[in-house]
Subunit: 116 residues, 2 copies
């Protein structure tokens, strides 16, 4: 759900603002020309994703970034990139000095190339 929350430019802008410190909903809305209700909905999405935590104080709502949640998303990406890059490394070592192009590729021969 976090990636969906990050998929919207306005929500990324809100997160950007919150990375510089907590804010109320109206304060978050100020840079935008959209209605307050729209921004509140964005905050709801961000809170549902866990990226932002909020707390009602009087008639205002304090919104803060959740660095733990941001870190979880970061890690998801990091793990996959690491996996891929270490694969590249191993491949590099394997091919050390050996040059060949247009050869059979592992991804192509992996699961039944042509005949079923």
């Amino acid at each position: 759900m976090a990636f969906h929350a990050l998929a919207d430019a306005t929500r990324r802008g809100i997160l950007d603002r919150l990375s510089r410190g907590p804010a109320s909903v109206s304060e978050l809305a100020r840079p935008y020309s959209t209605s307050l209700a729209a921004i509140q909905q964005h905050v709801q999405v961000l809170e549902a994703s866990g990226l932002v935590v909020t707390e009602k104080r009087g008639r205002t709502r304090e919104c803060r970034i959740s660095s733990e949640a941001v870190e979880r998303v970061e890690s998801w990406l990091h793990e996959r990139r690491q996996l891929w890059e270490s694969r590249i490394d191993r491949l590099g070592k394997l091919l050390e000095g050996g040059e060949f192009e247009g050869e059979t590729e592992p991804w192509n021969s992996a699961a039944g190339g042509d005949h079923r």
Copy 2:
């Protein structure tokens, strides 16, 4: 555009698969019950976002992850988290030993509290 690409579970699954090595479109489609056309469309979205690069080889299309693009997304998150966390640190040092709750908060007094 990258976050939008990551917002879909199937596309994240494809990226997951690709982190373990390149694959053809049909190979990517194999774990799913959806049509090949649907998966191809997902690959198109991933390629448009830059997260995946592809190359046509004969009648198959080789799909690979782009670690540079993944790293860019990772960095975007990292920067914001770092900013927020360093803010927390400064605040922690500022409050060292001093306990106060229910006080005026910076986020509330920041830009015109009540009167317009």
